[in-house]
Symmetry: C2
Subunit: 418 residues, 2 copies
DNA sequence: TTAGTTTGGGCGTCGTCCCAACAAAGCGTG
DNA sequence: CACGCTTTGTTGGGACGACGCCCAAACTAA
């Protein structure tokens, strides 16, 4: 997630940019460090109380924060805590995957407000149909929010494949079987676009979701997202690394086993052929085994896998160790290059990762030159399969923090009980 | 190197921050896009001519830009081009290496103003002595600049080893034999520090030197530095990626050939075993061949290699193609992860890279998932051994672009011929 | 010479932040 | 219970910076 107000590429700063930046700064500070008084805000942001006062009252007018409970300290006038108001604006994240489309709405505080999911087989439908289903889901979400008077900050869609953001086209989506699909344009057409719609690689969004503002161990992150394919994202200094054309994070097609299995991309020995979900399932079970049955929900199949591992089934444990080892080999390659503070495992890795972790850490120690694996820690994501949609929603909200003035002023109800 | 004015981590923006940012923006724009009129500046930066007028006159007062030649266009009043003035302020870069210490001063336009080098054997002296020698070199540079009335923006020192910038200590310098040396503090003490002194890893500075401000192809860079070992640096959005503990860029020990040759680090199949200088020389020549003789200067050995390749010697070409192929394999792995705009080859790669490039590009195309290698181009560095000092000097200058007001106003000579 | 075009700078206005002073709201103490 | 003490939040100048408008300057083309 880009955390900076960012004087951006070019244009000079004017006075209202100062206002915008400071409004965003205050709002962000309240989100990251919790409710606090105007005076505390002023001290912590290095501004005067008077300035903060006007900033806060503008944020209140825009419905972004509210006065909360009075706080009594030992001495002096009690302060009224200011806190982020989640009732006014939401960001929406969405995801297009091989077997489902889904949406999630988050309020300004990062709380889940709405969540929808539709199972489908993307490969048996064409892109237009899949996107129409997603558009339906988004419309339901939007109308549900609008009934409650919540405005929409934007929609960010994660898609499994390479997304060229300059041309706004999904260039390469081998898992979906999509090539050169203008996802953004189609959605804008279908939805009538009253808000900003951005499309990004799902791995990037999942990575962005793992950033925890203020936590130093969560600023330099390598996210490994395991599903049928393997992708991920790189976060450096809290900033997502997209690469020059937005193609960064395509870890799945690093060649780690020259001459190995043929991959869907046509090459041999790609990382995802040995560390993807398919590799795990094929190693862990015979073709007629229920967990190999695509009709069965993925969650259930993974739960069954965990159950077998907990029962110490030899074949299952062997598969988890073997695949975990390959995950570690690839992770070591990337860790040598990037030296992240934390490797976060998401997707199916998060579900069964506690059984793979020893193997991953073993290979990491073996493969990383820097002592103690360069201080890199391995953690399992707690966001589950919702990482990408959550990241998308967070990215949508980011525009509000970057420019709170984009949220309309509300005519404050003057009356009311005194 | 951080290129952004960066509202930094916390503190709110005030009015003078706007001024500072806009002054820097104008100055940077002139550096990046060359001399141009005030009107052009205004149009390109999205500001009014009057604002630009006052900004430029302040920059002139501070001696950072000057009015240049009048430019006659087809119609209308001719404009006077404004250009960056290199005569007022310089940034100094320095380097501490096993066999030499050196300095370089760059003016605001990036031109070399001063360059000094002192050969020594760092391993036979203690750190204090080496740093005293460097301090002498810096003092000479500074006094030479001050004679000419040039002020110093800062000093950035590159050192061979891991530098912990939060503690300002060289923690690990195996090549120098230095451990836990507070290089910054010692230099500040020796020099009396009238300017800012920063210390960094020399590889980082060399990588940063490859950034060309304003060139979009030189903002997202993967630098591959070939010597006996292979290392490098990652630049994303003009910003150097250091990793959480400063260990990033250790590419040499990525495992690209499982079960391959044993590496000095104890592992098998590390990238540098197939793409390092040793691999090339051993493949290209018998043990008694002069180019295998460590006593011979490296430049000469590489020149001989080039000579043979130009004569189309089969074994030499085979070796260059083979090693180049492995360079490409590793580059492809990193390119899938990072999607750089440009891969810059430095060290011995820069010397013989024109013979390896076809093989590198072949493997890059084969190994990168994104179409057309993700748009990544392969280039040879032209900076040679001065890359680190140049990067240091550029980093020092960066403070001027971030805040031009740090350069004192000069009392403009009022008189003069009308 | 005159009309047309573009440049650069001066002046007034507006927006934003800072500083200083002040009212508000408690706590502790006599 | 009144009074001082402390901290909070608000209010009214003052300073500073960018913008918009205007005008003189400088040059081309007819």
């Amino acid at each position: 997630m880009s955390t900076m107000p960012q004087s951006a590429t070019d244009h000079g700063l004017a006075n209202f940019d100062v206002r915008r930046s400071n409004l965003g700064l205050a709002l962000r500070h309240l989100r990251d460090h919790g409710p606090r008084s105007r005076a505390a805000l002023a001290a912590e942001l290095g501004m005067t109380r008077s300035t903060i006062s006007t900033l806060v009252s503008e944020l209140i007018e825009r419905g972004l924060v509210t006065d909360g409970q009075p706080v009594h300290s030992t001495v002096g006038r009690p302060s009224t805590a200011v806190e982020v108001d989640g009732r006014t604006v939401c960001g929406i994240g969405a995801e297009i995957n091989v077997n489902h489309v889904s949406t999630m709405a988050l309020d300004l505080r990062g709380e889940v407000v709405e969540e929808r999911k539709l199972a489908l087989d993307a490969r048996s439908l064409d892109a237009e149909r899949v996107l129409a289903h997603l558009a339906d889901l988004v419309r339901e979400t939007v109308s549900s929010l609008e009934v409650r008077g919540v405005s929409i900050a934007g929609l960010t869609v994660g898609v499994a494949g390479l997304y060229d953001q300059t041309r706004d086209v999904l260039t390469h989506g081998p898992n979906l079987g999509w090539y050169d699909v203008p996802v953004g344009a189609i959605l804008r057409r279908d939805l009538g676009a009253t808000f900003r719609i951005v499309v990004d690689n799902e791995g990037n969004l999942a990575a962005a979701a793992e950033v925890t503002p203020g936590d130093p161990g969560r600023q330099d992150i390598l996210v490994l997202h395991g599903e049928v394919g393997v992708g991920g994202g790189i976060v450096s200094g809290g900033r997502l690394l997209r690469g020059s054309h937005g193609y960064a994070g395509e870890f799945g097609h690093m060649i780690v086993k020259p001459g190995g299995l043929r991959c869907g991309c046509g090459r041999q020995g790609c990382w995802e052929t040995v560390s993807g979900l398919r590799a795990l399932l094929e190693m862990a079970a015979d073709p007629d085994d229920p967990i190999r049955n695509p009709a069965m929900a993925l969650d259930d199949r993974l739960a069954e896998l965990n159950r077998r591992a907990d029962l110490r089934d030899t074949r299952t444990l062997r598969a988890l160790d073997d695949v975990g080892g390959w995950v570690g080999v690839g992770a070591a390659v990337l860790t040598n290059a990037l030296n992240p503070a934390t490797i976060v495992l998401t997707g199916y890795y998060a579900a069964v990762g506690h059984h793979m972790r020893p193997a991953i850490e073993r290979e990491l120690r073996a493969g990383v030159l820097a002592p103690d694996s360069g201080g890199t820690r391995v953690e399992l994501s707690t966001l589950g399969f919702s990482a990408a949609v959550r990241g998308g929603a967070t990215a949508s909200l980011e525009t509000v923090f970057a420019d709170p003035t984009q949220v309309a002023r509300r005519t404050v109800p003057v009356g009311g009980v005194p």
